[in-house]
């Protein structure tokens, strides 16, 4: 499958170089590490000013039902945020009164299946990846969130900024009391 996709990209001229592929993979891993260590200040620096961060809520529907559950932005979504809106959420953690985050939650983001392709904009790249976000808080409170992401990353100097992210969580009922975790 990978071969086919790679060939397809080569045919379309959207195949990314080895170096670019690794540079973006390393960027995703760094992002994951920042989130694991609650380093939200540095994470916010990885977000472009024109960021759109979307995580739709997915209902269980019959196949014949053509309701667009993923890209229709007028439907219910866990996140449908601009950068200022994300920053607003993050500012809760800086108040010092987010009681439920103290003692701290432990996180691991596992990012895998990274695919990189070129886009019509020379400085922007589409990156597909899968995430397994694990968190453990209190004594035995644990959650596993699994899904895929389709990102656009923009090259800015030597680094990259996240311009678009659509994260599709595979839950119907969120099997948790909240989502105090970014993926």
């Amino acid at each position: 499958m990978t071969d086919t996709a790679t060939l397809e990209r080569t045919r379309q001229g959207t195949a990314a170089s080895l170096e670019l592929t690794h540079a973006l993979a390393q960027t995703l891993y760094r992002e994951a590490r920042l989130l694991d260590t609650e380093n939200y200040a540095d994470w916010a620096e990885m977000l472009a000013e024109d960021l759109h961060y979307h995580m739709p809520g997915i209902e269980t529907r019959y196949r014949r039902d053509k309701t667009d559950q993923v890209t229709d932005l007028t439907r219910m979504a866990y996140y449908n945020d601009s950068k200022p809106e994300i920053l607003k959420r993050l500012s809760r953690l800086e108040t010092g009164t987010a009681w439920s985050e103290d003692p701290a939650t432990r996180y691991t983001h596992i990012i895998t299946n990274v695919e990189v392709e070129l886009t019509e904009n020379a400085d922007e790249f589409r990156v597909y990846s899968n995430f397994y976000a694990y968190r453990n808080r209190n004594e035995r409170d644990e959650d596993s969130l699994i899904g895929n992401r389709i990102d656009i990353w923009r090259q800015v100097g030597n680094s990259f900024q996240l311009v678009k992210r659509r994260a599709i969580l595979k839950h119907n009922v969120l099997l948790s009391k909240n989502l105090n975790i970014y993926v």
């Binding site: 080895l18 170096e19 690794h22 540079a23 390393q26 960027t27 995703l28 891993y29 760094r30 994951a32 590490r33 694991d36 540095d42 103290d102 003692p103 701290a104 432990r106 996180y107 691991t108 983001h109 596992i110 990012i111 895998t112 397994y132 694990y134 968190r135 453990n136 209190n138 004594e139 035995r140 644990e142 596993s144 030597n158 680094s159």
Partner: protein, 175 residues
């Protein structure tokens, strides 16, 4: 620790270390402990500290003799653990538990020397246990790997386990 991706990325090193990590995981999954020991530098420092849940603003001092460890191993102690596993008397591992390690986020975070890299990675350990239950443990690791000719040797590993109460009845496993 350098906290930016190296630019340009040292592609060859990333690929080589990633291969070493995958190889290491495979050896452990297959219980090829001698093969695994051969990947370790003779000065290996292999650690997993104990952690407790504390309030962020807690004012109590550190514990007098330190927090204690789950692993604080040099090569000798790792060999000792391997000897036990190979002794034939470890009934808890007979029949074997099925362990699969998934390694991801292999990030080269620093290159202190031409032949040394500091590597951050995360691990999911899926253990299908003798009693039929499955336990999933996750952890983050920060390693120091040293290139020696064609081979890469593990020099140091710090492991952070994401569980405050170990959800399993033993840790007969290496991370």
């Amino acid at each position: 620790m350098l906290d930016r991706p190296l630019s340009p990325p040292p592609v060859e090193v990333i690929v080589a270390v990633t291969q070493a990590l995958h190889c290491e995981a495979r050896l452990l999954d297959n219980e090829d402990f001698d093969g695994w020991l051969a990947m370790l530098d003779e000065d290996i420092c292999y650690r997993m500290e104990l952690k407790s849940r504390r309030f962020r603003a807690d004012r109590s001092p550190p514990l007098p003799v330190g927090p204690g460890v789950i692993f604080n191993e040099d090569l000798g102690r790792l060999k000792l653990r391997v000897d036990r596993l190979k002794s034939g008397f470890v009934w808890a591992e007979d029949p074997p538990n099925f362990i699969r390690r998934a390694i991801s986020n292999v990030e080269v975070v620093a290159r202190p020397a031409e032949n040394e890299v500091r590597v951050h990675s995360v691990l999911i350990m899926h253990r299908n246990r003798i009693d039929g239950t499955t336990r999933v443990l996750t952890a983050a690791r920060t390693d120091l790997w040293r290139g020696e000719g064609q081979a890469w040797l593990l020099v140091a590993r710090d492991i952070v386990l994401d569980h405050s109460v170990l959800p399993d009845s033993n840790l007969n496993a290496f991370f």
